[in-house]
Symmetry: C2
Subunit: 181 residues, 2 copies
DNA sequence: AAAAAACTACCTACTGATAGGTAATTTCAA
DNA sequence: TTGAAATTACCTATCAGTAGGTAGTTTTTT
């Protein structure tokens, strides 16, 4: 991907985090970059293609920042902190949580990319729980992973909406205790 | 509120649940009702006013359907079921979770109405926990309520996106166990 | 010279909103 | 009780703004 295409995706991610899928437009991105909106069509044929690129890039960066669950001593705490870090940057929620809420109006391909992000998160948290709680049944691991992912996505969304980062901190703290026993 | 205004709000709620704040327009609602978009401005001066009415109406109906926490033997299970019922109707997520994700582009007054909905939910779940777990500390009650609300909002959002209602069922089941001990 | 990356100049579709008008109903004072 | 005034609930017509997208052309880089 060219440098320009990269920059375009970066702008789109920021705009989506600020107001959802309808908050980024070819025109606005072009204006900010000092180019014309038609030029963006050279890099991404349409909004759907850009939407997919944006989702996959967010996915990549999220997990690149996270590292492997096996490389952390307390991976759940690390996972929680990555959400707190995401909220701190721009005071905005997780981009994929925002897009998930708008699923009904998203192109199928974007929705599918979001589905992959979700699955990848669940697998990560499950691996983390297996490491931290070797005694837990597989069922308990899978169910708890669902709760942790859902709670953090819900918490970061409502914390950003109400402008109360402490709401996420509260949920994060309780989730840590939940896993600690 | 007149019957027409009521109908307008109903259509708006359905459309928002299907695709977010940008998925309802004066024109579309008018078309479905067989009137003109200008007529909707008679009942609601602008989109912001309609947005607030919609949020408050959803709030009202949600808690009317829920009843008082004190009136249920197992209020948490009842609360979980209300989310499962919401997902079952239209296969769509909680309207307020959807709007919360788009907070960045919402008019302030709508955001504030959403904030009230959130607080009301937290108070309800706290009351439920006090009833079910009289032995718990106030801190534990408040923190657990945050987790339950966030987890359900996150789960219903991702379940609707991935079209996997079982994801919500899984989270709901685990939350019940969490409270049961 | 050729490929890449941008440009100009449009188009169609849709948005929320406003101005001005009309028929039917309701309120209220003489 | 009746006529004037006001209100309700809609209408037509139009506005400026923004959206995504396209065809054809020019500039820039290799």
């Amino acid at each position: 991907m060219s440098e320009t295409a990269n920059t375009i995706v970066g702008h789109a991610i920021r705009m989506i985090r600020q107001g959802g899928y309808n908050s980024f437009s070819f025109r606005k991105i072009a204006e900010e970059m000092g180019i014309k909106s038609a030029s963006i069509h050279y890099h991404f044929p349409n909004k759907e293609a850009l939407g997919v690129a944006v989702t996959e890039r967010y996915d990549e960066e999220f997990f690149a920042g996270l590292g492997a669950a096996e490389d952390h001593e307390a991976p759940i705490a690390h996972y929680v902190e990555s959400f707190e870090g995401a909220l701190a940057s721009q005071g905005a929620a997780c981009m994929c949580g925002i897009l998930a809420a708008e699923a009904g109006q998203l192109p199928e391909t974007v929705r599918e990319a979001l589905g992959r992000f979700t699955e990848r998160n669940l697998r990560w948290v499950e691996a983390a729980l297996r490491r931290e709680q070797p005694g837990w049944s597989e069922e308990r691991v899978v169910d708890t992973a669902s709760v942790i992912f859902s709670a953090l996505e819900g918490a970061i969304t409502f914390a950003a909406m109400a402008r109360k980062p402490e709401h996420l901190a509260q949920v994060g703290g309780q989730l840590r205790r939940l896993v600690a026993g």
